[in-house]
């Protein structure tokens, strides 16, 4: 499944980059993320409860940040496995500062859902993915505003 989305964050691209790659921020912002621990350079152990408020799956796996160029782009590679199956995502995140405190974030990638969820929820999965991305960037925008306020 293709995933894509464009979001605007009210701060500069360096700050956005820092937010998006900071495990503490991610722990607060990624919907359903229960824990994130660094296990080696740019690789984290993750425990994730993914889904919608009424329908959820628990996944355990890793998050990797690769090809990172500060303030410009990075790739997020996620893998998780749980009783309901697995999730895999490989997303390229590109940042483009469009004004002093406005950055456009472009996400483009592939996600695979396997197991029970794939077999029954195909007509829902892309909806769930865009919901989760929306939730995430909403939270990041809050973080960005906080950062801006602190900065000011």
């Amino acid at each position: 499944m293709k995933i894509s989305g464009t979001y605007e964050i009210p701060t500069n691209s360096t700050t956005v980059f820092q937010l998006l790659t900071n495990p503490d921020v991610l722990e607060r912002t990624v919907p359903g993320l229960k824990s994130l621990h660094l296990i080696e350079d740019n690789i984290y152990d993750a425990d994730l409860e993914m889904g919608l408020p009424t329908v959820k799956g628990r996944y355990k796996g890793t998050v990797k940040l690769v090809d990172a160029v500060i303030g410009e782009h990075f790739r997020l590679i996620m893998e998780g496995q749980g009783p309901l199956g697995f999730v895999q995502a490989d997303v390229l995140i590109k940042l483009e500062q469009i004004s002093e405190n406005q950055t456009k974030v472009d996400c483009e990638g592939e996600a695979t859902i396997g197991g029970v969820v794939a077999g029954i929820g195909q007509r829902m999965i892309s909806g769930v993915a865009s919901f989760l991305m929306g939730q995430f960037f909403k939270a990041i925008r809050k973080e960005a505003s906080k950062a801006e306020n602190v900065g000011n």
Partner: protein, 788 residues
Amino acid sequence: MTTVSETKWVGRAIRRREDPRLLAGKGKYIGDITLPGTTYVHLVRSTHAHARIRNIDTTKAENYPGVVAVVTGEEVAAAMKPMLVPSIIPRLGGELQIPTVYPLAIDKVLWVGDPIVAIIAENKYIAEDAAQLVEIEYEPLPVLEDPEEALKSDSPKIHEDWKSNVLWHGELGDGDVEKAFREADYILSERFYGHRTGCAPLETRGAVASYDDFTGLTLYINSQRPHILRMALSQILNIPHDKVRVIAPKDVGGAFGTKAPIYREDLLICYLAMKLKRPVKWIENRMESLMTIGQERDQIHYLELAVRKDGKILGLRDRIIADVGDGRTGVYLGFVMPWLGAAYLTNAFDIPNVHIDLSCVVTNKPCLSPSRAFGEFPARFAMDYALHLVARELNLDPRDVFEKNIIKKFPYVTATGITHDSGDYVGAFKTLLEALDYDRVKQEQKEARKNGRLIGVGFAMGAEMSGIGSQVFVAMENQPGYGSATVKIDTHGMVQVLEGDSPQGQGHETTIAQAVADELGVNIDDIYISYGDTFATPFASGTLGNRGASYTVSAAVLACRKLKTKIQKIAAYLLGIESDSEEFIFANREVIWKKDNSKRVSLDDIADVAIMAPTKLPPGMEAGLEATAYFEANIASMLSIGVHGAVVEVNPKTGDYKILRYVVVDDCGVPINPMLVRGQVHGGVVMGIGNTRYEKYIYDEAGQPLCTTLMEYHMPSAADVPDIEVIEYNVPTPYTPLGTKGKGEGVPGPVPATLASAITDAIDRPGFKLLNLPLTPESIWRALNEDK
């Protein structure tokens, strides 16, 4: 005076004898069998289509209260031989690569649903709880979903020790194909695609196994072929044959081919019972069923027809690429169905010059398993729809093209070696056109078009196998094709028939009894039929491929006839008549001398003498009244014709279509019970409509099955299908004692070509073709908008 005709049961549409128990809710299906101390199995299956297993952690599952055992692949494999023992490997020539198969995955999984861990618990709820606690680490491997991709030499190998991903490759055909194509006025060349769909019976698979050191292994399983399974279990599990008893329950909730193979789970359940020394029960849930069994028909035809301008087909070339999935299901290995589809490709048509090249390619999907219209479904679509396309291209009436090519002389052997025994295919075809009122429909079509309504008429044929004799079956499945039955008259003059087959709703208790009642001149209620228990029934290949009415009924008839010879001798002796054995009539439970009707002995008296008072038997005669017969027709194979026709209306804006009429003209030789034959045809057509329009096993690019519940795998309900009209056109075959032939197995086959040709006729636009199944409104809408 009693005449034979008064006691005739064959041909009568009587109510079924199995129905009262089923109607009262007293049927005995596999799910209803629970032995004292039973444990329950749940299987943890792969969520990846292709991956290495890096680690399996079962600790938490093992510690879950109520769990009896947790078992993984290596343990099971160590206890048995690789499943594909020589006796269940088909011998069809060509090049075959055989995978190594054990019940549970070891190191690697090849499709979503591949079983990895078995949890055995005190109840089924607990088994599922514990399954949630098993942790498996996978290392994903590249997924091959497209057989044409998998064919490429640089593709990764699914079975790493193979030289390619081709499970079987071979060629079929005969004649001078090159010459036919040189002499053709027109060559049709198209790519036809049949999608992955199948039969999915309402009852899933299930097994209950028990084991003790003295009686050995007993396996209750809703198998179509208990004897074959028993033989395989003994060999694979290294248990003496006398210590393996397979019992198919009295009632099986439909099978349609899907319960014919030897599955990995069958072996697993037996192993678990042996390990635990407790009964083990496994009932497949629908989700695992939809991702494991009943998937068939998935193949591509590059079909070419060499045609004379009058519509006569001179030659045929086909390159078939079948997606057989992982190829690991016992007996069929996924390739027997496409092979049979190729062998039967020329259907009811006389095409002397044929060359077929068939490649059966493994992919990361479940192995194909047989599904009614076994192997024929996509082949019928390609062949019969191609004839309609030929007619359109040459501006001929498809009726004439069909008539010109239909087989007219019998027996007929196709270029692929299939023997058509007898029949009147042209007569059946003409009867269909009459029933459809073809000329009037064509006229109405013109009228309707003026009002903006698109009506079309289409038809197709299905020469379906009616059992296959040993000549073919031994090669095909390494098993005999004969029918077998034992007929016994018991101490009370009741007649017991034991058959080695194991029905799943076909009505053997009625049809076999009808045939036997006529032979022995008894009432149908005097007969009871036993089946399913391999310790009590004669060896047979199972209930599949329309064998029942062709082979099994014939065996029962022959057994009766053997018995009658003895009965007549006893009767003559008791009556004090000097007589040849053929001088008696069997009627009203009596044996009556033809020359003097007053000379008669009741069957009860004969049974009493033969069994209870052997001192009264003719001197030297052996006691008892029973006979076993193995029937083999004096011909390689028998086929029976079904001709399908439909009138449809298409909405060109959406591609949606409605079936206004669906008519089948059907030949089953002699119908033993016409009501049951009609039932078979209705059910086959509706399954065909389901497979053609509504049902598809969809996989995404990662090999994930997207149709794992009946919410996504759309079996049609009563509101989705039309009335089905059935017209009998029976020509008795000279190759069975009663002229009967099996019917029902192949009925779905002609449906896709029937509907595709009717829709094409309704659209009636040059260049419009429906080359890909399923025929959904969207696919038709696309075809309509692609050729613009």
